[in-house]
């Protein structure tokens, strides 16, 4: 039987999504359901002095006003954002200070809107700067990487370099904004809690609820069949799940808590703003002798999150002298978290822009510059790569994009009021796997059911895993049902870090192979069926110590209106080396979607901090623009065939994040090529184009 892995298979749950039948976390009807609405603080730092619930409780349909004075006590966990309504402290504007519960959502909301909350306000500190007096070096950066690294002597290398580039780049706070706002529907059956929750992995939400409510593993079930995007913001439990479970316990009724679009800007994470100084030193031919990448970023006072912004520099280019550092300041702001390609997305903007500046300074083609600096082993640490095909991506992309015809001189191509240019940038993202469990059962009728706590947040994971299982079991896809999004299936990795398929695919392969061996041993499937279970923890622990990364090359063509500063992007091309591609249709969509978010990052996305009120002021889709269809023209993504037997049985590297890495730099470099003006701060707004 020919395999389905690699084929452009249509999405299995497509039918339920196009007809509106797919049920998301806020869509489940439950008898007796009540609704909770979050009341948010209107100060950025201080204490809640009082909440006067008297009038609210007299309003029609209002069932309860839950505050720190009457909330159920939770067990301690290390994520302060989950310890909701446990004390009176206000750590940022928009923090939850009460939950109003009503028979209908509108009743709860009406009462919440008028709820009198008195505060004892303190002066707040919400602005990030590179000279902030409270900058510190965190113990590690996300997920558990060294804060600083140093190889050789960067200062000596720079001092002796024939050519140097030394510039500061910045990226703003950006909000993930999945189309589905976070939502949880919770109910208790005796002492057993069930939640329908919008997340990137039910396992982590399960673990959080078990700890917070002091329950046995078996007493909590998290169900997440369909999830409307996440992009990092649903990577772990968010506070709406805790509030729904708490209120359901307190009131003895099913409770739903849905966030509004505006609340997403305070309560579920965002990409930290970054200030990045990059210093490059090279010989006259552009061969690096030193690279220094210093990052300043922010966290909150509730939970320390340190984005790994500079890790991009640790793997990209050969240099004898290499240093990277991260400095953090805890401000009175909501907690930043993961957003698509945390670290690599903003880090690549700075370094790939600087490389373009170095190419200009040396008079070397930017693709040739990167080829000259291709390392043999990991630049920081010296470990071998399991596979590395950056040069192949650059060359394939150059051919497709007709790069050889490019005139490198900036600011020389004009079509009416439009200046035109092209740019390139490199891309990378780690290829990792995390321990997961799965079961596969053989049914009497010759079909199979795979169960694992994977999540399909739009990636196509459900479909790809069905392809993987069908190939392993050597049956057509319609003989395999993959059930996901249910914590009762056992622990598994989340849809995050581009680790989904590399983790779930591995355990599904292992479970299928075990099942086939069991069937052989039994001489067939017994009348009552057969079940095989697998766990990849030991396999992953036994992996060789290699550097495993995807690589890619991003190409951009831009047109810049000299009168208005408007930037159009007629063409984006991404060429990626990401191991084996399981589903050509869903994979291409993932890569193009990532590149589109990169375009959006380059030109539009920016959460503006209001210093006086201490809040992101453009906190809705009217003020925070994500790329609309009019912003997107031709975007192509392709990949080179890459075999790597040091990854996992499938040979996949993951594709969720790499599409956004390097896109903004490619566009910024194209804007330079068009205008002759370097853009070192995102987004590249019209005013920045007109007033460089």
């Amino acid at each position: 039987m020919s395999g389905t892995v690699g084929a452009p298979v249509s999405r299995i749950e497509g039918l339920s999504k196009v007809t509106g039948e797919a049920r998301y976390a806020a869509d489940f009807p439950l008898a007796g359901l009540a609704h909770g609405w979050i009341v948010q603080s209107t100060i950025a730092r201080g204490r809640v002095e009082s909440v006067d619930a008297g009038a609210a409780l007299q309003m029609p349909g209002v069932l309860a006003v839950v505050t720190a004075t009457n909330a159920m006590r939770l067990q301690d966990v290390d994520d302060g954002e989950l310890l909701v309504l446990q004390d009176q402290q206000v750590h940022y504007r928009g923090q939850t200070v009460a939950l109003v519960v009503g028979d209908t959502l509108e009743q709860a909301r009406a009462a919440a809107d008028g709820l009198p909350v008195e505060y004892q306000a303190e002066p707040h500190d919400v602005l990030l700067s590179a000279s902030h007096p409270r900058l510190f070096a965190p113990d590690h950066v996300n997920p558990n990487l060294p804060t600083d690294t140093l190889t050789g002597d960067v200062e000596a290398g720079l001092a002796g370099a024939a050519v140097t580039v030394d510039h500061t780049y910045s990226t703003p706070a950006e909000h993930n904004n999945p189309m589905e706002p976070h939502a949880t529907t919770a109910f208790w059956d005796g002492d057993r809690l069930t939640v329908y929750d919008s997340n990137q992995g039910a396992t982590r939400v399960h673990q959080a609820l078990v700890r917070l409510f002091g329950l046995e593993d078996s007493a909590v079930r998290v169900v997440s069949e369909h999830v409307g995007g996440g992009f990092g913001s649903k990577g772990g439990a968010r506070s709406q799940a805790v509030l729904a479970a708490m209120a359901a316990r307190m009131l003895g009724r099913p409770i739903r808590v849905v966030l509004s679009r505006k609340q997403l800007f305070s309560l579920v994470g965002y990409r930290t703003p970054t200030i990045q100084r990059v210093r490059l030193g090279s010989d006259r031919g552009g061969r690096l002798v030193a690279l220094d990448h210093q990052v300043v970023e922010q966290t909150s006072t509730v939970y320390e999150f340190a984005e790994q912004t500079a890790v991009f520099s640790r793997v990209m280019y050969a240099t004898p002298n290499l240093s990277t550092s991260h400095r953090l300041v805890a401000l009175d702001v909501p907690t930043p978290r993961w957003m698509r390609a945390p670290g690599e997305a903003p880090g690549s903007f700075a370094v790939e822009s600087a490389m373009d500046e170095l190419a200009e300074a040396c008079g070397v083609d930017p693709i040739e510059l990167r080829i000259r600096n291709e390392p043999v082993t990991e630049p920081e640490g010296g470990r071998p790569f399991s596979s590395r095909n950056l040069i192949a991506c650059l060359r394939e992309g150059a051919s497709r994009f007709r790069w050889a015809e490019r005139d490198p001189r900036p600011g020389t191509r004009r079509d009416g009021q439009w200046l035109m240019g092209t740019g390139v940038a490199a891309s990378t993202y780690p290829a990792r796997s995390a321990p997961s469990t799965a079961s596969v059962s053989a049914q009497e009728d010759g079909s199979f059911i795979v169960r694992l706590t994977a999540a399909d947040i739009g990636t196509g994971a459900r479909t790809a895993l069905t392809q993987v299982a069908a190939d392993e079991l050597q049956v057509p896809m319609d003989k395999v049902e993959v059930r996901i999004g249910d914590s009762d299936f056992g622990p598994a990795m989340i849809a995050g870090g581009s680790m989904g398929m590399a983790s779930w695919g591995w355990v599904v392969v292992k479970a299928c192979r075990q099942l086939i061996a069991d069937i052989d041993r039994c001489g067939g499937v017994p009348d009552d069926g057969l079940v095989a279970r697998a766990d990849t923890a030991d396999d992953i622990a036994a992996q060789a110590d290699l550097v495993r990364h995807s690589f890619g090359a991003q190409f951009a063509e831009v047109r810049v209106d000299v009168d208005t500063g408007e930037i159009r992007v007629p063409r984006l091309l991404g060429v990626f080396a990401a191991g084996r591609i399981v589903n050509a249709k869903t994979a291409r969509s993932q890569l193009i979607g990532g590149m589109t978010m990169g375009l959006s990052m380059a030109l539009f996305e920016e959460s503006l901090m209001d210093a006086e009120f201490g809040d992101y002021l453009n906190h809705d889709f009217a003020g925070y623009h994500i790329a609309a269809n009019a912003d997107v023209q031709r975007i192509d993504a392709t990949w080179i065939d890459e075999e790597d037997d040091q990854l996992n049985p499938l040979g996949v590297k993951g594709i969720g994040e790499i599409g956004i890495v390097g896109t903004a730099a490619a566009i910024a470099n194209a804007v330079y090529h068009a205008t002759g003006q370097r853009q070192r701060h995102l987004p590249i707004r019209p005013d920045r184009v007109l007033s460089p």
Partner: protein, 159 residues
Amino acid sequence: MTDPYSLTVNGTDHQVVDAWLGESLLYVLRERLGLPGSKAGCEQGECGSCSVIVDGSLECACLILAAAAVGCDITTVEGLQPGRGDFTTVQEAFIAEGAVQCGFCTPGLVVALTDLLARVPHPSDLEVREAISGNLCRCTGYGRILAAAQAAAKAASDE
């Protein structure tokens, strides 16, 4: 509480009782009539995830008071009628062309393009872009959605 009123949704009359007059059409569809296919993405008419057809006009259900839609003919994603088979040409094209990812924006896009093709059977790319200018998608990058619109137009004319 307002007096009971009746909404005609997908060809069926629904009684709405004990409702508050300020409830949006989206809220009533989702919370009172058991039709959660229309999605609440922004509540300000920016994302189009709640798109429905009201008396032949494409509207954001979040911006209309339900009580103001009394006497109107309302079509939601659940009420789109296939010419033949189990689903419409637009729905089929969305699946085949890979225009669906997380699916949250999909019902609104399917309704918007169904509305377009009813008015303009052979739209230009620009007409497709204009028709979905009120719909945001965070996953796909829009290219496959535009392709699905053209595939649906072609399939409809082939039938």
